[in-house]
């Protein structure tokens, strides 16, 4: 939606600018090659346009890239007044700074490529339509001064001998106003190969390459960005099963047997014993198993086990109870989770166990052994 539309608009604007660049390139070629009334074209000026300028441009690109600034001339354009305001706004919407730099770089390369293509087309048109004689003039330079420079420039296409400069060519195309006569037609036309090679080597191929690289990086990055956005976190919710909670009571039959597994303080334990009117109290925090074996509870109506509410029920307790008690005895078993506070200089008093703890024990009563939960807090003494 928005993103698509933005990139379409951005493309439209950049195509427009590319068109302008293309036409500027064409014009530059035409202007440089149009020459005087004899069709004589300044070789040095052409050299400047077709070889030196692109070479400097490449150098500048390389320098900026190595400095880590990847925006190219497009960044300059954004700040210019004539640039459509829409362009800057569109650009600002394209992801982060890094993404924007990639876009700017790719745009810059695209525009430069258009300029170069315009250049080349202008060059070709002029060659087709006119008889151009390349000549050069200089007060200070001699043909022999110029040759090493041109040789250096022509190094990359040393395999194309027809496009190489020679001393002969240079001296034959040097133009002296006084001499007045047209130069040797054989030589004056030959320069075009050299200029064409310079354009191919310093403008067209490197810029095409850079443009392709920039485009490639941009599309790759855009893809990862959009997959990034599509990624969803899947929150895993713990499935809460419906709990089976044991029945809870506050009273038990009198004359029961009480086992204290909670290390209950003495005063509290005797309070509880009195309140429940139990027959006997066993302090058996360490080994319920053997204790249960020794106790004769055949005649007692019920068993009460005091536990610490905050300690989670262990499988060990369930094992002992299951092993030592018959099903009938289990149904007469009460588990009482208790919690208490101890105030200094005062007796401990019971406090209400936390709900989560009570639930935990009631689940235990229902699942591990089939017994009843006894709530001691809040029960009437």
């Amino acid at each position: 939606m928005q993103e698509n539309k933005d990139s379409l608009a951005l493309r439209a604007i950049s195509v427009m600018i590319a068109l302008i660049a293309f036409i500027l390139g064409l014009l530059a070629s035409v202007a440089a090659l149009s020459g005087d009334e004899y069709g004589r074209v300044n070789l040095l000026l052409s050299l400047f346009l077709f070889a030196l300028l692109p070479a400097f441009g490449l150098l500048a690109t390389a320098v900026f890239l190595s400095l880590g600034r990847r925006s190219g001339i497009a960044a300059l354009l954004v700040e210019l007044r004539v640039t459509p305001k829409r362009f800057a706004a569109l650009l600002a919407r394209q992801g982060g700074a890094a993404q924007r730099q990639r876009i700017l770089f790719s745009l810059s390369q695209g525009w430069l490529l258009s300029f170069v293509a315009g250049n080349l087309l202008g060059f070709a048109l002029m060659l087709l339509a006119m008889d151009i004689s390349f000549v050069w003039r200089s007060t200070l330079l001699e043909a022999s001064d110029l040759l090493p420079v041109l040789d250096f420039v022509a190094m990359p296409w040393s395999f194309w001998s027809a496009a190489q400069p020679s001393l002969e060519m240079l001296s034959q195309t040097q133009d002296f106003r006084l001499q007045g006569s047209p130069n040797d037609a054989n030589y004056v036309g030959q320069w075009w190969r050299f200029l064409l090679a310079a354009q191919l080597c310093y403008s067209l191929s490197p810029r095409t390459l850079l443009w392709l690289i920039a485009k490639n990086r941009l599309t790759r990055k855009t893809e990862t960005l959009s997959t990034d956005q599509n990624r969803k976190v899947s929150a895993e919710n713990p499935i809460s099963e419906i709990d089976r909670l044991a029945k809870s009571v506050t009273e038990i039959p009198v004359d029961s047997i009480l086992f204290d597994l909670a290390h209950t303080p003495d005063s509290l334990l005797s309070d509880i014993g009195e309140r429940l009117q139990v027959a006997t109290i066993h302090r058996t925090p360490v080994d319920l198993h053997s204790q249960l074996q020794r106790v004769d509870y055949a005649n007692s109506p019920a068993l009460v086990v005091l536990v610490r509410s905050w300690e989670p029920p262990l499988a060990e307790l369930a094992d002992s109870l299951r092993e030592e008690l018959t099903a009938e005895q289990q149904s007469n078993l009460f588990i009482a989770p208790i919690d208490w506070v101890s105030a200094p200089q005062k007796n401990e008093r019971l406090v209400e166990p936390q709900v989560a703890h009570t639930q935990e024990w009631r689940r235990f009563c229902a699942s591990a052994v089939d017994c009843t939960h006894l709530s001691l807090y809040g029960a009437k003494p």
């Binding site: 068109l19 020459g35 800057a88 600002a92 919407r93 339509a129 262990l314 499988a315 935990e360």
Partner: protein
């Protein structure tokens, strides 16, 4: 155990005493299963913690369920102290024990395979001798060990626990997984290196990398905030229509979509910030992003979305090109005359013809019409609001641990306090950047402009 193996620690203890919470907090992993029910963790699960090029492993285990019976079994299989480790090895490999003591086998296995022991107890409840059986079993393992007191409800009984635990463990530390910040985590890592000196090199590397990670996170959070600010401050919806009245009818539709999409952008950024801090399952709530002012507008458009001036300029330059070709053909002497006339003719023609173009169609598609627009927000305050909310989340994440499972309520950070702590050039740069943002201009190097603010904030948090 040797220096060549990577550090491994098994977190063991009674059920429901926060073992998994401690693993989650130390591993900074919010996918560790934690619940208020005991017996949540049923299998040992290894969490490899990679911090850059260093790593160590924490193993979450089920709690002891039959410590006394397991100890009785072990006593039957080892008559003297030198046979204890063998008895443990026998215990974890025996099928019989796996059936009888599934939890103990699961938790002792990683230890018998070389993991060090982290024994967890609850410091809010008194010590009692019921714990001695499991501590005895752990001692039999003969592995490096330390105890962690987790003050679940309070720190009422830490002292008595410390005394009891020091009989069994060389190192005893208090660690609250719900409040653990990076300093507390670092203390625990340091203690790991004390109990298992063979692993010190690796653990020290982990600690150093954690420090670096903190800095990287701040930098990344700055980049994310910059990206979000740029996106939100320039966000615009547009829809092209044929007539002005159609464009105006779109107002409520665009407005509603704009609000929804702006919020979606913000919550996506918040989600990425959470992920940056390794929160992948964290739900949060925040009051709606306030978007103020009438942001609706309509404008005429023609081909390619260019307006009249832009179109005329393009045509003029194209005209100049044609004119130049004409110049060349006529001998080149009148270069500029041809070009200029061409440009004027073409540009003028297009200027006056723009309306015509707008009304014509190419293969049934209109070449021009009206555009309804909503946004961008030009409110000067808007960047501050977005930043305050973002930093509010960042602050909350830094003050949270991965052991918590409650919903996070994000409140705005008090931005002004943080801006006040900046140096004046930083403050100026920030104000200028926010101003440019709210007027939809590109800001150079926004992440670096924001960074001092984020750094100031996290320093305040960690003080």
């Amino acid at each position: 155990m040797s220096a060549l193996t990577l550090p491994r620690f098994a977190v063991v203890g009674h059920p429901n005493k926060g073992k998994s919470s401690i693993v989650a907090a130390l591993a900074q992993n919010d996918s560790v299963e934690i619940s208020s029910r005991s017996g949540t963790t049923l299998q040992a699960a290894a969490f490899k913690i990679r911090v850059d090029d260093a790593s160590y492993t924490l193993i979450d285990t089920p709690g002891f369920q039959r410590p006394r019976r397991a100890l009785a079994w072990l006593n039957q299989h080892a008559s003297s102290a030198d046979q204890r480790r063998e008895a443990i090895a026998l215990f974890v490999s025996s099928d019989d024990c796996a059936a009888q003591f599934p939890d103990e086998v699961a938790l002792l296995k990683p230890i018998s395979e070389g993991a060090a022991i982290l024994y967890v107890v609850d410091g809010s409840r008194p010590y009692n001798p019921d714990y001695e059986a499991e501590m005895e079993i752990l001692r039999w393992c003969g592995q490096p060990s330390m105890a962690l007191i987790n003050p679940i409800e309070s720190d009422a009984h830490i002292d008595t626990w410390q005394q009891a635990l020091s009989q069994f463990f060389k190192v005893v530390r208090v660690f609250n997984p719900m409040l653990a910040d990076r300093l507390r985590r670092d203390e625990i890592l340091e203690a790991f290196a004390v109990i298992a000196p063979e692993w010190r090199t690796q653990i020290d590397l982990v600690r150093a990398n954690y420090t670096q990670q903190d800095q990287i996170r701040i930098v990344d959070a700055g980049k994310l905030l910059a990206e979000t600010l740029e996106l939100l401050c320039s966000y615009q919806l547009n829809q092209q229509t044929l007539s002005k009245s159609q464009a105006e009818k779109l107002k409520p539709v665009l407005e509603a979509r704009y609000f929804v999409e702006m919020r979606a952008i913000e919550s996506a950024a918040h989600r990425r910030l959470k992920e940056l801090f390794d929160y992948r399952n964290l739900d949060s709530e925040i009051i709606d992003l306030p978007i103020e002012g009438d942001l609706f507008d309509t404008e005429k458009w023609v081909v390619w979305g260019l307006n009249r001036q832009q179109l005329a300029l393009t045509a003029a330059i194209a005209g100049a090109g044609t004119g130049a070709a004409f110049d060349v053909a006529t001998g080149g002497s009148s270069l500029l005359i041809g070009a200029t006339t061409g440009a004027l003719l073409a540009g003028g023609g297009t200027w006056f013809g723009a309306d015509k173009i707008a009304r014509s169609k190419v293969m049934g598609l209109p070449l021009g019409g009206f555009e309804a627009r909503h946004g961008p927000s030009a409110n000067r305050n808007f960047p501050y609001v977005v930043t305050g909310r973002f930093l509010g989340l960042l602050e909350a994440l830094q003050n949270r641990t991965h052991a918590r499972r409650d919903i996070l309520t994000i409140t705005d950070s008090t931005l002004q306090d943080k801006i006040d702590t900046l140096q004046s050039h930083q403050r100026k740069a920030l104000t200028a950047a926010f101003h440019r943002l709210s007027s939809q201009k590109v800001v150079d190097d926004l992440p670096n402009t924001l960074r001092p603010l984020l750094e100031a904030m996290s320093q305040m948090t960690f003080k």
